[in-house]
Subunit: 317 residues, 4 copies
Amino acid sequence: MLRYAYLGPAGTFTEEALRQVASPDEAVYLPQTDVGSAIAAVRAGGADRAVVAIESTAEGGVTATLDSLATGSPLVLLREVLVPVQFTLVGPPGTRLADVRRVAAHPHAWVQCRRWLAAHLPGAVHVPATSNTAPAALLAEAAADPAALRSSTFDAALVPPAAVGTYALVPLAERVADNPSALTRFVVVGPPGPVPPPTGADKTTLVVHLPDNEAGALLAMLEQFAVRGVNLSRIESRPIGDALGRYSFSIDAEGHVTDERMGEVLMGLHRRCPYVRFLGSYPRADAVAPQVQVGTADADFVEARAWLERLRGGDPG
Amino acid sequence: MLRYAYLGPAGTFTEEALRQVASPDEAVYLPQTDVGSAIAAVRAGGADRAVVAIESTAEGGVTATLDSLATGSPLVLLREVLVPVQFTLVGPPGTRLADVRRVAAHPHAWVQCRRWLAAHLPGAVHVPATSNTAPAALLAEAAADPAALRSSTFDAALVPPAAVGTYALVPLAERVADNPSALTRFVVVGPPGPVPPPTGADKTTLVVHLPDNEAGALLAMLEQFAVRGVNLSRIESRPIGDALGRYSFSIDAEGHVTDERMGEVLMGLHRRCPYVRFLGSYPRADAVAPQVQVGTADADFVEARAWLERLRGGDPG
Amino acid sequence: MLRYAYLGPAGTFTEEALRQVASPDEAVYLPQTDVGSAIAAVRAGGADRAVVAIESTAEGGVTATLDSLATGSPLVLLREVLVPVQFTLVGPPGTRLADVRRVAAHPHAWVQCRRWLAAHLPGAVHVPATSNTAPAALLAEAAADPAALRSSTFDAALVPPAAVGTYALVPLAERVADNPSALTRFVVVGPPGPVPPPTGADKTTLVVHLPDNEAGALLAMLEQFAVRGVNLSRIESRPIGDALGRYSFSIDAEGHVTDERMGEVLMGLHRRCPYVRFLGSYPRADAVAPQVQVGTADADFVEARAWLERLRGGDPG
Amino acid sequence: MLRYAYLGPAGTFTEEALRQVASPDEAVYLPQTDVGSAIAAVRAGGADRAVVAIESTAEGGVTATLDSLATGSPLVLLREVLVPVQFTLVGPPGTRLADVRRVAAHPHAWVQCRRWLAAHLPGAVHVPATSNTAPAALLAEAAADPAALRSSTFDAALVPPAAVGTYALVPLAERVADNPSALTRFVVVGPPGPVPPPTGADKTTLVVHLPDNEAGALLAMLEQFAVRGVNLSRIESRPIGDALGRYSFSIDAEGHVTDERMGEVLMGLHRRCPYVRFLGSYPRADAVAPQVQVGTADADFVEARAWLERLRGGDPG
């Protein structure tokens, strides 16, 4: 059974992502205290895979994930999983929604449910939690100990849906979220090895540094993609760390490393940029195939290569 | 006297930046608990200016600052200040460097001094602090109370140089940093008003959204700068928050809003992009003037405009 | 009455173009022996206008016209006229198509009717003529002198339709052409003066030199158009004449000099290129309006300029 | 012995070019009446090679050559030769420069020597000749027949230097030319076959059509070259002939078909453009090696390909 390191404890959104990948019956779940530890566990051999958030609609790129993958010993992405960012409001048994005055929530959770709270719990006070699942654990504890319950600093909590079953909590409201299409994107990270075969709807993730001190270097880098008809679905800058204004770019490009056009892009980047790290090709969670521009299908490259070989051999083409 | 909101308490790197702007004799210092509060204080009228970190060599863009400036009521940047990221190792009176075993440090500080610590304090243990100045306050307290000193969980602490005087501490080592050129860039934020006059070495900061669902939109946006010969010193992506893959770009461009070439770039962006926010033009801290490409000086624009007017008037030019 | 210099004699395609511009009752027709003389007549004041071919489907740019306009004292294009390249086969009275063995034709005319001739006059021999109208004149002469007719070296001739009436000839076949959509584009040339007002479907003609010894200079020049959404309907290279590989570009761009986007393109070219000559804005003969890209209408420029002025005045925009 | 078709008769500039390629002892010289006939002779098998002018400083591309090569059965360029455009002024025996009043010259020759003539033969009248060598033949004839000499319409002629020896003429002035660096570029044309090996300073000549009705198609075509660091030394438009504004581009690119970067450019053009004809790779006459941009040497491509193969095989690169 594969061992999966992930941001625990039980009940997190990350666990929800992990369940989409492998059920607890098929895999060993290894909860970690942070994203960096989950990734380090794979590098150190203590886990076979890590499941980590890489991007969310509200926060953008998860810098801990991006930075851990960009340097250090090589790892690759094997799969992506999308999880809706919707919370469940839970309370101790007997709590009625109308009685809730103090709501425990991680600050990010609070921000993403602010309008819902204003509408359904006007005047409710925010009790900051250190994680999404911490108040769930406290509530579970309190349910077993009336004294703990009385001294609780909150009446209800916003927790991930997966926490409800884990901690045997009572939901007061479900699918709580201001933006109903808010998502977090998770990736399954593993050691280098055979690339997942192309499905026709794949992504390739890269880390690219630009040549030093060159005006228009970002423009030139983007043209490497554009001229071969490869579209980008994500591009984010991260500091390289040696000087202000020096960036590493984290990129998701549409297509698979075995696509001819992607291969030519990768070689172009490798030739021109001081550093290119390949972080894997894997199926898109949404299974949307890219629009292939005229002249950029694999057959076009194969045909063009045969034509070039004829030219080089003295044939008019 | 102007009132400055900044990330306090006394002794922070931000205070060091603020001192470069206005001494405590000339200004009212209003320490805040976080960057968002400092910016909010200006919006609410409780402060005239905020001094906030916007970028660092190690962490890149400060997302709290970028996001606070990108939306909400308009604010502008009036000045930038660079502060070296170098720490002072401090201890209670009588401490010798050789005796130090446990070092209190904010996790970011620890990371940035790791090699120095391995060389000078091999085997020292990290005691995480909640801020750069928290251990300084504890040390100051302990100096006045031998009992507190005995129960202290650390022997020494990494603090900003400004904290040494503030808390009357004894330095064990100065200029502690793995990367001697590490910097944090701070900006002075204020309400909209007259733009600081051009100095010949200025920056203009912008927030730009790309048109929806358009392949090559980032390329097209960058060409608006390139075709007028305006270089970028920083470009960072931040999620817009409504869907995965939708970005807002935070940009520093070399030049001043009153430069002809910058004006044409701004108008081009405004015409083509769904959202452009001008966050100010202000002198570069390094006073480095941009290389002006052929045909992009103000005089070239003025001359070209006169030529066009002649053409439109029926004159051959 | 305006005096028009044009490539004569009577009956040429150029005369057909001129008739679309001004009938012989309304204008003085001044036939010239070549395009250069027609243009020179306007420069010297002997004519008010010249009507000259500038481009044809079969031959491309008319180099004599392009070169005459590109240098020398300034002239501008005031109008364009399209004339179909279709010939009339004429013969002496009494000739039957079936009897034709030898066909007089200017070499260009012969080339453009080759397939028609092969189909309708298989085996017919080409008797080269020095111009399109020369054989018409000979036929007219012969009609009045039976001896001349007997010694004629040809039985029939391919002439412009306008020549039939001029020389009172008998058509054997009309609309003779291999490519039924073949066209010649003529322009009306005059001294600099008020630009014809925009019609919404206009062209602007330019001559542009690239900066010396700069790789990518042509690419950079084309980007001046692309970034402002101005499309080109014609671009041709002509040697500058001082060294191999040095070119002058003759360009037709879609739009009018008074369009905001065209104005900005012209200023951009003027700023960056060593030489830009404006050869006029005038209505398109086909009256097809350009597709205006998002953000490039006049109102977008006006609005963007007002926004920039607000920014420069200290208003948040 | 190879048979060379060229624009004759003896004494032309083309013969001068041919002599640089093969002396009359080593080759069969087959003079032709025009460029088209010389090229046709190779296609028909009547000649092994054609030597034809393709470009001149004064006239630009030689359209007859460009058009003959762009369509019809495939031919390739094997070599280029540069010939200075300098004339020799010749007269009958006994003529003194001071006595010359009427100068026979092809109109192109006259234009290129106008300033020299104004300075050295003020007031001399131009007697147009039908070719550069026609007046040389007449002078040679006249030298043998005093009656012919007396009836001659000219006193002297501007002829190519090669004509002096051919016709045993007496030079009155040598190296007559207004632009001392004026050149004509000739190419040696042959049937398809082994490509001349790369010398490190080569040119590749192409014919490329753009995709129909696509704004920015020329820009996109040029980017195929730019993104791989291949510079152009010549680009000229020629009409395709089916409609106004439809062009075929004749291009000289710096490098050899066996260069990796040129191969990738050719494949990119072949994939994206409706028509690409390879007209050969051959040594530059000036032996100037191209500036190779960072990352575009053959070794860079080979290394990038090996890297890509490693990635595809599951190796981290």
